[in-house]
């Protein structure tokens, strides 16, 4: 018998795929058989091919293929009906197992909350600067400076670049900006601070700001002209029609308002109250070389022509840099950064305005994942552990023709349903914690976290993603169940799954333990810093910023108060600030030394100890003669005995000063840094603070008395604080850290506890019968509770054993970075953290195991 062409049939079968076309193949064969009787074989074969092609493109085959996809015995499908069925089954199963559903929803909601904040933050920061019309073509020039071996990336660039850039054919405009306009304006109601930038008139062409009054083209063309924002105008004049008015600066200077603009949106990397004409700045006095080398606070923006790329401009910048810096001690290379990359870009130093550093974002992302993933794992754990409960359903589905991927899809749907519910709760948590979260961020004034449709869309997509992560393993597991075993109730959590579960639990508790430990240590660190012995007596001292008041008159006034014991003046507040200068002595290299200017009463007021020499003399000050150095200073010059230092002379700020005394080391800087070389100088012009030692009595009367006296010497508002409050505030960073870590720790701990609760409930349920039999055989409640809890206790113990050394190592590595004088992690910290973890963990476990142990065996054993 002649055979039809095999290849044609194979082709046909391939085209039809899983559609049912047996009868058609039969028809084709029959035709072939008929054709061979009438035609030569080759002709019949040709005809067969023709028929195959004709059928392959026909609607008949397409319809059969479609039927195959959604037919009763479909092998791949997506039908709305099945989806609806999954939703129904999912909601029923969630409702039926309310307890677990609740655990899962809360766990996931807590886990997602931090990520929601992150998403809200990123989705807002992504909108930065998108109100500029020409945003697609605006770039800023950044620089990478090499000073000796140090290399740093800066957001700044020399303004000298603008001239060559402006002439480049690809550049439409190049504008220079000088940041750091920071003045106070005298008004009848008092002084008003103003901050802003010095810019050129073309600034308003490049960046899109809405000018409401005045002419943008000329508003910044002359010296001392400014463009004021409406909010600043309101603050100054209580009105917005202020065109042409003048601003009187403190202490001197006049600015004319050339235009008024609408406030820029807060999602801007440029942040200002006022734009001042660049011509206001004096001509630079430094040499051109110096201008190329020192360009702090100088920024260059470039607006490229339509269709131009950065390549040629960048090449020009490279050439310029090479030419300019070839003979200079400092090297710099320039790069172009697109406007939309500035707000959330690499960590450049001296950013012009609000900025969200990439490194901070990455830390945030890691933290968010550290909270989110354990929550997802919890879901995975609980779902797989409870496989037994769902096994019959899955077995039946499979027997009725449910395919692996259908079961998979069903369980993914179920997970997504639960994550969406959790998303709702998560958004609630987000709304509650939002303001607190904002207060922790440095640039929070340039952030708006209200819910927008766009943000909600991101939240939704994120929840879907989280659902997939949490649900993929259980879904795969259920999809792969053997229906025969499932129906015979022979499904058990696979031993490998159990191992993974244990590892995950240990990891979660290790994380929680780490957070608790960090919390304990940072709390101690804060108390330690605030109560630190700085080496000087800061109790009962009130710090009064002078704000330009005459020190002698202040002393006169304050000295009349009965409660004032001592008054002294200084240029900086100890423990918080100091200035630095370079000194030189014959035969030695220059050294950078920290300094504070004081008056002769200082050492006594702060109870500083002189090791050798004398204090500054009380005689009327004529010129600077002496310095009082600290012990570190002696070490730097290898002087072993304090007395030997007396009389040595040093060149400081173009005068020669003699060492007249040596003071015992004390913490003149913050505790973040080790004590360094330091000296006191005497110079009345430098005083910026009055320190008043008072009698410890009612602070309210004291302050009002001081204020009354203050009014006689200055028209500035009086501000004063106790030194100890200042110190507390200086270390409030730890309070923020404690808050963050406390919050994260709370989340991590709740997630771990919820996860463990789920597991314990599950084990207790499955072991109800075993417990019943044990009780009948005479086991005690205590013994059973212990039996059920034992495994979990072991896991927690393991978590502590892993967590303690890891956290300790982490602390000893990074604490010195945060603060040089820091607490060391000790056994007590670990004990405390362990106690917290153990008591919460035990309470969780015991609440369930005890209940199981107390159950009446007659009840549990009867339930068959």
């Amino acid at each position: 018998m002649k055979r039809p062409p095999l290849l044609a049939r194979q082709f046909f079968e391939w085209v039809c795929g899983n559609a049912r076309v047996d009868d058609l193949v039969g028809d084709l064969d029959e035709w072939f058989h008929l054709n061979t009787q009438r035609h030569p074989l080759w002709r019949a074969r040709m005809m067969y091919w023709g028929q195959v092609v004709s059928l392959s493109f026909s609607y008949g085959i397409r319809k059969r293929q479609r039927d195959a996809r959604s037919g009763m015995y479909a092998t791949s499908n997506f039908s709305i009906d099945m989806f609806r069925n999954y939703l129904t089954v999912a909601s029923r199963s969630l409702y039926q197992h309310k307890y677990f559903s609740l655990l899962n929803v809360f766990g996931l909601a807590i886990g997602m909350s931090v990520s929601l904040m992150l998403i809200a933050l990123i989705s807002y920061v992504k909108t930065y600067d998108d109100f500029h019309e020409h945003r697609a073509h605006i770039y800023t020039v950044t620089s990478e400076r090499t000073e000796g071996v140090d290399q740093y990336a800066y957001a700044t660039a020399p303004v000298l670049l603008t001239e060559p850039l402006a002439q480049h054919p690809d550049v439409r405009r190049a504008v220079r900006i000088r940041a750091g306009f920071d003045e106070t304006v005298k008004r009848v109601q008092g002084t008003v601070p103003l901050r802003g930038y010095y810019v050129e008139p073309s600034f308003l062409e490049v960046f899109s700001y809405r000018i409401t009054q005045g002419n943008a083209a000329v508003a910044l063309s002359k010296p001392n002209q400014v463009v004021l924002t409406e909010s600043a105008a309101l603050r100054l004049f209580n009105a917005t029609d202020v065109l042409g008015k003048t601003l009187e600066l403190e202490p001197s200077g006049l600015l004319e308002i050339g235009a008024v603009m609408k406030d820029h949106p807060i999602n801007s990397h440029l942040k200002f109250d006022v734009l001042v004409s660049y011509a206001t700045l004096p001509e630079p006095s430094a040499s051109v070389k110096d201008q190329w080398m020192n360009y702090g606070r100088e920024y260059v923006y470039v607006w490229l022509r339509e269709g131009a790329t950065t390549d040629r401009v960048q090449a020009e910048l490279d050439q310029l840099a090479q030419r300019t810096y070839s003979g200079l001690p400092i090297k710099a290379v320039f790069a172009m950064q697109h406007l939309s990359d500035i707000a959330m870009g690499p960590d450049y130093r001296q950013a012009i305005g609000p900025k969200w550093e990439m490194s901070g974002m990455i830390v945030f992302i890691v933290v968010a994942l550290m909270i989110l993933l354990p929550a997802c794992f919890n879901y995975t754990n609980i779902s797989i552990a409870r496989a037994l409960k769902r096994a019959k359903e899955i077995g039946l589905r499979k027997t009725m023709g449910g395919q692996q991927h259908q079961i998979f899809f069903q369980f993914i749907t179920e997970t997504v349903v639960i994550t969406l519910v959790a998303l709702g709760v998560g958004i609630l948590i987000f709304l509650l914690a939002r303001s607190e979260f904002k207060s922790l961020l440095a640039a929070s004034s340039a952030l708006d976290l209200s819910l927008t449709p766009r943000m909600l869309l991101w939240f939704f997509l994120f929840a879907l993603g989280a659902g997939l992560v949490a649900g993929v393993f259980p879904a795969l597991y259920f999809g792969a169940l053997n229906p025969i075993q499932a129906l015979k109730n022979k499904v058990h959590g696979r031993s490998s799954a159990m191992r993974v579960r244990k590892v995950l639990t240990v990891m979660q508790f290790t994380l929680s333990f780490g957070f608790i430990l960090a919390l304990v240590v940072f709390t101690r660190q804060y108390r330690y810093s605030v109560g630190f012995d700085f080496g000087f007596d800061k109790s009962n001292i009130v710090n009064v910023p002078l704000k330009g008041a005459d020190p002698a008159r202040v002393r006169n006034e304050f000295a009349q108060l009965a409660s004032v014991q001592q008054i002294t003046f200084a240029s900086n507040v100890l423990g918080m600030g100091y200035s630095k200068t370079w000194i030189k002595s014959p035969g030695n290299d220059s050294l950078e030394v920290a300094q504070i200017f004081i008056d002769p009463q200082y050492l006594q007021t702060f109870r500083l100890t002189l090791l050798a020499g004398t204090n500054f003399s009380d005689e009327a000050w004529q010129r600077e003669q002496g310095i009082i150095v600290n012990e570190e200073f002696l070490k730097a010059y290898e002087i072993t005995h304090p007395a030997e230092a007396l009389g040595r002379t040093f060149d400081v700020d173009s005068t020669t000063l003699q060492v007249i005394g040596v003071v015992k080391n004390f913490h003149f800087a913050t505790l973040r840094l080790p004590i360094d070389k330091f000296f006191f100088r005497l110079h009345p012009n430098q005083y910026a603070y009055a320190h008043v030692r008072v009698q410890p009595n009612d602070p309210y009367t004291l302050f009002s008395e001081l204020e009354k006296r203050w009014k006689n010497v200055s028209d500035q508002p009086f501000s004063a604080r106790f030194f100890e409050h200042d110190i507390e505030e200086a270390y409030s960073m730890y309070k923020t850290l404690i808050k963050i870590i406390g919050f994260l720790g709370l989340l991590a701990l709740s997630i771990s506890l919820l996860g463990m609760l789920g597991m314990v409930v599950y084990t207790s349920e499955t072991k109800a019968k075993e417990v019943g039999i044990r009780k009948v055989m005479g086991a005690s409640v205590y013994g059973i509770t212990f039996l059920l809890s034992k495994d979990y206790l072991r896991l927690m113990l393991l978590a502590v054993l892993i967590g303690a050394p890891v956290t300790a190592a982490l602390f000893s590595w990074f604490m010195p970075y945060i603060q040089y004088y820091s607490v060391r992690l000790n056994g007590w910290d670990i004990l405390w953290a362990t106690l917290v973890l153990a008591s919460l963990g035990l309470a969780t476990i015991a609440s369930q195991t005890y209940r199981t142990a107390m159950a009446n065996p007659a009840e549990t054993l009867r339930a068959e």
Partner: protein, 108 residues
Amino acid sequence: MKTYLGELEELVLLTIASLGNQAYGVAIQQELEVRCSRNITIGALHSTIARLEEKGFLTSWLGGATAERGGRSKRFYEITQAGKKAVNEAKSIRDELWRLSKINLSLK
């Protein structure tokens, strides 16, 4: 709404009806060729059958495997009640038009 019945669809339905319980792919195509002198491709035939099935005018069952077919079953088609109604409507429209014809269509 009345379902529109195409000319080829009508032919296929009637052919299937004329074949009785022997209406399967090959037979239908041969019958169309012999009786109606319509040479249509196998693809066109099955497209038409598929559309008729969608409209609910045809049902089918499997059976009658032979050696020539490599032991594969035939798919026999049968006209449904809806199908009968559809051909009847088509016929009555034609009859009506014949009757209304103002010129004598008779060839005698």
